[in-house]
């Protein structure tokens, strides 16, 4: 099994050309009690890259991106995002950094006491102090148009389907124009057609907003459609890193089953 040091030897820069690195993790470890979730993770995310983290449930994929935004504090290691050392930031500095990172939650995490419009207006009012009705309206409608749901602004989250909720969740993060997008299981629980639409949305977000993205998934078709590069996570370690087509040829008993369906 590859260790983090092995991973570093196979520099990802070779695969991604000379694109600058926007986020890098080195030797990140995280345990919950006696359970080691992340054992030694290192990775680089390049500008305008879609990096898929593929792995089975419970391998620490979500914990990894939560460590990147400071929702969970890593035990050891370096987490550098957009030039900031996440582990040493003060709460105010962390809030500043978070404005540049969009996080799409597995369950969408829409504020269920607010309408779609209020959900989208919330980060604008709180972070950018935008209160003018016209300005808010324009930004909300544009963000909704980008996800193809401009007619839902007055609906409550409970009136939306799973796929629509995911799109609104993405629109809410896009409204702050993030530089990095983190998608936590974007297609989980969706039918194949809606899942494909979400995958296409992820690609269009990259094109339109020039974002770099980390996509956490165990859905192989999501990985195929969205990835420039894939890191396979097994038992809290980077097991393999390559493109989808390369990874498809793997004989590794931990990874081969992903491609056998």
């Amino acid at each position: 099994m590859d260790t983090s040091a092995d991973y570093l030897k196979k520099s990802s820069t070779a695969k991604m050309g000379n694109r600058p690195i926007v986020a890098s993790l080195r030797h990140v470890k995280k345990s919950f009690g006696a359970m080691e979730v992340l054992r030694d993770i290192s990775l680089d995310l390049h500008q305008n890259e879609n990096l898929v983290i593929l792995g089975r449930s419970g391998t620490g994929k979500s914990v990894l991106i939560k460590c990147m935004v400071g929702l969970i504090r890593a035990d050891t290691g370096e987490i550098n995002v957009l030039g900031c050392d996440v582990r040493s930031l003060t709460p105010d500095q962390l809030d500043e950094l978070r404005l540049q990172i969009g996080f799409s939650f597995q369950g969408s995490a829409l504020y269920d006491s607010m309408t779609v419009r209020q959900n989208l207006e919330f980060p604008l009012k709180r972070n950018k102090a935008i209160f003018k009705k016209k300005e808010l309206e324009d930004l909300v409608i544009n963000a909704l148009k980008d996800v193809g749901l401009e007619n839902t602004s007055d609906k409550m989250p409970s009136e939306l389907s799973g796929g629509m909720k995911k799109r609104i969740g993405i629109a809410r993060t896009l409204i702050l124009k993030p530089k990095i997008m983190l998608y936590d299981e974007p297609t989980a629980g969706l039918d194949p057609i809606t899942a494909t639409e979400i995958n296409e949305l992820i690609l269009s977000v990259r094109e339109k907003y020039n974002t770099s993205s980390i996509i956490i998934t165990h859905d192989i078709s999501c990985a195929r459609q969205t990835s420039d590069r894939i890191i396979a996570l097994v038992n809290g370690l980077n097991k393999e890193e390559s493109t989808f087509d390369e990874l498809k040829q793997t004989k590794d008993p931990d990874l081969a089953p992903f491609f056998s369906y």
């Binding site: 809030d95 404005l99 597995q106 995490a109 980060p123 709180r126 102090a129 809410r172």
Partner: protein, 250 residues
């Protein structure tokens, strides 16, 4: 509970307490959300407070009258009722009603937001959820409880007057003149201070239970339950402590 977890929990509660005070006076202010929460607090408890305070006034008057009549001291009824209502019954009933109604509401609301990652979503968008969700709710309950207590006192006295009027045909002016002549500023002031502490306790305990709930749907129920039970317990403790303290000035 073992000693180490108890210590850790105590430290966590202290930090939560400290964070509320730090953020309450830290710009930007949450006055919009505080106003919204104040309205919600008043709106949620208005009917229940009205109903229970009115009944308390009626029942207390009905129960006290025979005892006073047996001593020929029926004319003392307004003063007895007014002192009982303003010093103790009004704040206590309002506190308990609000602990049940608001405690469960705040506890369950914050816990379900936690379970569905809505609080995390606010956190990762840099939206300062603690100040938006917790500080605003604690401020609202702290500000609104004294107002609700004043209202409950008035309703309870009205209930008492209607009962007295029904039985003895006592006039409105006579009844409330007697009430006013037996109430001191200390009674009113101590009642308001007590209500402020009740409000803070309800907001603080319910928010803590909700904001720190365990994940899962059972966590929501547990948070609501903890919020109500502990808030009620603390209302009695605060009532007792305040009584001892206020008696120093009587």
């Amino acid at each position: 509970m073992k000693f180490k977890p108890l210590l850790l929990r105590s430290a966590d509660i202290y930090q939560f307490f400290q964070r509320i005070f730090k953020q309450a006076f830290h710009a930007p202010s949450e006055w919009r959300e505080v106003l919204k929460q104040c309205f919600a607090v008043g709106n949620r408890s208005f009917f229940l407070v009205t109903f229970t305070a009115f009944l308390a006034g009626v029942v207390f008057t009905r129960q006290s009258r025979p005892s006073l009549s047996s001593f020929g001291a029926e004319s003392w009824l307004p003063s007895l009722v007014s002192q009982a209502v303003i010093r103790s019954l009004g704040p206590l009933i309002t506190g308990l009603i609000c602990a049940g109604k608001l405690g469960s509401n705040i506890g369950a609301e914050l816990a379900s937001m936690k379970v569905t990652e809505q609080i995390d979503a606010m956190e990762v968008s840099g939206s300062r959820p603690f100040s938006f969700l917790v500080v605003s709710r604690v401020t609202a309950t702290t500000l609104m409880l004294p107002l609700l207590v004043v209202y409950a006192d008035c309703v309870a006295l009205l209930g008492s007057f209607i009962t007295v009027n029904f039985i003895n045909n006592t006039g409105f002016k006579l009844y409330f003149n007697t009430v006013a002549s037996h109430i001191t500023y200390l009674d009113i002031f101590s009642s308001l201070i007590k209500a402020t502490f009740f409000g803070f306790a309800i907001g603080f305990i319910s928010s803590y239970a909700g904001y720190n709930s365990d994940n899962g749907t059972t966590g929501v129920g547990k948070a609501a339950n903890t919020a109500v039970v502990i808030s009620m317990l603390f209302i009695f403790i605060i009532d007792l402590v305040m009584l001892q303290f206020i008696n120093l000035f009587r």
